[in-house]
Amino acid sequence: MARRTHLDIIFDMLLTIQQKGGLIKPTHLLYGANLSHQQLKKYSAELVDKGFVVVVEKDSDWFQITDKGHLYVKKIRDMREFEDAFDL
């Protein structure tokens, strides 16, 4: 299987959060997006920086997807649809 690109990982993380109803525990995100602990730290920080998710404090730090995050997922989906159609 081909190695996931940076964009693939971001997409998998945001999609996992979406599928969990928009709010997710870090451990569920780690398993759902198939990440190592280091990757989770690195990419979740990036998602927060870019405003795709916000940290919600519950029993631990949960991640909540923002409107910007939803929009980003849609953009990646559109791009993948285009890639599939034109074999890019």
């Binding site: 964009l7 849609k74 791009m79 649809e81 285009f82 599939d84 034109f86 074999d87 890019l88």
Partner: protein
């Protein structure tokens, strides 16, 4: 006397409109590909957009050349006139052919990957044959027909793997573009070959646009 225009007079302008529409279709797909490149940084999108853009600019040059012919009332011109007063137009003919073939070549190389050296030599040989050959008209349409056929063939194979209906449109569209170039071989026999060729080519581009629309509309129907 050298006949420079093969289309019947009533078709003047219709073919310009068809070529402009074809160029706009290519540019719209190229624009979407470029937007995706801007978003993702993926090189394939940029190459695809570039290939389509070059092809579209070739069609624009063709439109400009035909416009000059039609508006100048020089349907039948002598060879010496081509070399002197119509030198600018014949230069446009060469440029339009080179751009159309290069655009198709860039798209071809996306689907049939080969080493950079092979690509460079291929581009060089194609350019040489388009500039220096005595039968440049036939060579141009032959190369274009072959390239379009192989691009269509790629989508046809890909359709078998994925059983994806958009691939049917894409393979058919490039096969139609290929057929149109074959029809253009025969325009010296009858102007009808030019007319049918233009219609077939436009059908090919409309199918390409249908694919783009289906992709864009799918995204709109499935917002998340």
């Amino acid at each position: 006397m050298l006949q420079a225009i093969y289309a019947p007079r009533w078709f003047y302008g219709v073919d310009l409109f068809m070529d402009i529409l074809s160029a706009l279709i290519l540019l719209s797909i190229g624009f979407v590909a470029f937007r995706h490149y801007w978003f993702s940084g993926r090189k394939n999108h940029l190459l695809f957009a570039f290939g389509l853009g070059v092809y579209a600019s070739g069609l624009v040059f063709k439109v400009a050349r035909n416009f000059i012919f039609y508006s100048g009332d020089i349907a039948d011109i002598t060879l010496s006139q081509i070399h002197s007063s119509v030198a600018f137009v014949s230069w446009m003919v060469i440029v339009s052919r080179i751009l159309i073939v290069l655009g198709l070549l860039f798209i071809f190389f996306l689907y049939y990957t080969s080493p950079k050296e092979v690509q460079a030599i291929t581009v060089f040989l194609v350019l040489v044959s388009l500039i220096l050959s005595d039968s440049v008209y036939v060579i141009f349409h032959m190369i274009s027909a072959l390239l379009a056929f192989f691009i269509g063939f790629h989508f046809s194979r890909s359709r078998k793997k994925h059983s994806f209906s958009q691939k049917n449109f894409l393979s058919l569209s490039f096969f139609l573009i290929s057929i149109s170039h074959i029809l253009f071989f025969f325009i010296s026999f009858s102007g009808w070959f030019y007319i049918i060729g233009e219609f077939v080519q436009l059908c090919g581009f409309i199918l390409l646009f249908t694919t783009l629309l289906s992709v864009v509309l799918y995204g709109k129907k499935n917002p998340s």
